[in-house]
Amino acid sequence: MADKRLDTYLVLLAPVLVRIDGVTEDPADVDLAEAILVAAESADGIGLTRSEIAARAGLNAADPRFAARFDMLARAGALQHLRGDKKHQSRYLPDPVALLAAEILARLSGDHGAEELHSLLVAAADRLEAAFRDDLDAPAPTAEEVAALVAKLSVLLHAYAQRMEAASTAGTYEELTRARTGSSTSRQMAQIERVCRAINRNDSPYGHLFHDANRLLAAGQRFVAASEQLTERLVEVATSGEGRGVLGLADFEQYLHAAISRNLDQLAAVGATIPLETAPPVVHLADLAQAAAELDVAPQVRRVPVPPQADPSLDPRDALAERRRRAEQRAEVRRSWAARLLAEHDDVDVTSHATTWPHAARLLADAMALSRDPVVAMAADIGDPPLVEPGAEVAVRHPLRLRRLPVEPRPVEWLGATGITRDAAR
């Protein structure tokens, strides 16, 4: 058991050993060891031999400094030993725990553990609240475990607060920046309050830990106060001198005053020196290709719409001529019919010719047209008295007679193509 723990610790500590390098104070050695780890990380899952790692790290495999760092990493377990394809060939893969530890170290040096502290608080609060949910997958912690957890968290918060208080009392700008833990303290405080509420609930099995909860709350309050004090001090130091970083540029009051009191040219001069992080949009091949595709479908030249094909039957002049032709044809038919009827008689009764209403109407119209036609000398007489024939289809008829006129037809004047005639004498 103890051996296993030692192995895990070694692996976990391997990146730390790389960074601080327990046997040297030469930064070049640290760079060299980091280069080896980075090269080993690029193994693509099949592992690299010692000489391949050296080549990827840009180092000479025969260099004793490379050998020293490489052996240290291999011995610590950060580089896992694999059997190679050849008999005496060894391949190495980075250990996952070592990779994780390297990430954690990078985060710790990036935000000074602010995210880890927050994660710890969230996990503690979640664990305590699980006790009230009857969740079989996450069994409730015992009272002793909660007491130990709360004590640890209190110590952790006090330690952070202690460091920040020391820095804000007499720290330089760099020390203040280093001691800063996270940008927001309210979210840490919210988690602390969750833990305390879980302990102090009415039905809580941890009710007797009331004083521990109070101590945790006090530690949280000290942490928050120290953090706020540190931030204030940081702003104070940053704005007091020149070249102290971006905080010196971003003093809101100064900019507000300048915006009100300075003229546009001065503001433009200031604006030109304000560092902006805006980068121009990058050009994507797909965007250009899309634009080219849209350009292809657009019409190349402006075209006048082609007029539709003219239908000769729709020409009004043709239609008019056609109607005149048919009217003339009809008049000729009518005249020849009248000439046949009156060939042997001067007077003909055509009342019986009207057998149906449409026929009677057409007959009447023809008779009226003939009596107005100057070419034929005849007239139609329409009688008033109705003739009732009960057996016939048309119930009521008027007597209709055609008679020859004794006079010769008068000379007529044709009015052009209208088909209308007018008496020349009139």
Binding site: P275, A292, L295
Partner: protein, 178 residues
């Protein structure tokens, strides 16, 4: 904000890199930024692998050109194309020619206004250059001179052949339709 990033931001705001800043800017992430020679001066720009490249760009939180801006940039590239293997420096053309590529006057006044707005943006981002050298362009009309900007000079990599081929194809289509 670290020192190199602050220097980078100032260099971008100034639109040029001073000689004494080069050493500090070398500390920026080389996969993302680099200093290139553009004409007589040096400028800080996105690394070559990222301009135009299809695969890497999708993973980056980089801003992309809008559709109109991309269309306008393509029109500028087509109008200034000289048949060379790289679009920079290209020929000198006018806004009217750029609009003609986009089928002016069928485009309409409103769409032409958008294109002119995009030309202004491209000028701001140095992807296109409006006016003759040194002139400050206040109003864009169809006679305003246009050429590709210095950022185009920084385009490199194996994929530069693709936009060149794309532009050549559009140029060929235009000549065929005339």
């Amino acid at each position: 904000m670290s020192g190199p990033r602050l220097t980078a931001a100032r260099a971008r705001a100034r639109r040029g890199v001073e000689a004494d800043e080069i050493g500090e800017l070398a500390a920026l992430e080389p996969g993302l930024w680099r200093v290139v020679e553009a004409g007589e001066q040096r400028m800080l720009t996105v690394a070559a692998d990222l301009q135009l490249h299809n695969d890497d760009l999708t993973k980056l939180p980089a801003i992309r050109l809008s559709a109109t801006q991309a269309r306008t940039l393509l029109a500028v590239l087509v109008a200034t194309a000289t048949g060379a293997s790289h679009p920079y420096p290209g020929g000198l053309t006018t806004v009217g020619d750029v609009l003609a590529v986009l089928h002016w006057p069928l485009l309409g006044e409103s769409a032409a206004a958008h294109v002119k707005g995009s030309l202004n943006k491209l000028h701001l981002w140095r992807l296109a250059r409006l006016g003759c050298d040194g002139d400050e362009v206040t109003d864009i009309d169809s006679t305003t001179a246009v050429r590709v900007g210095p950022v185009v000079a920084s385009w490199s990599g194996p994929w530069i052949a693709e936009p060149t081929a794309l532009v050549a194809r559009v140029v060929e289509q235009r000549q065929r339709s005339k």
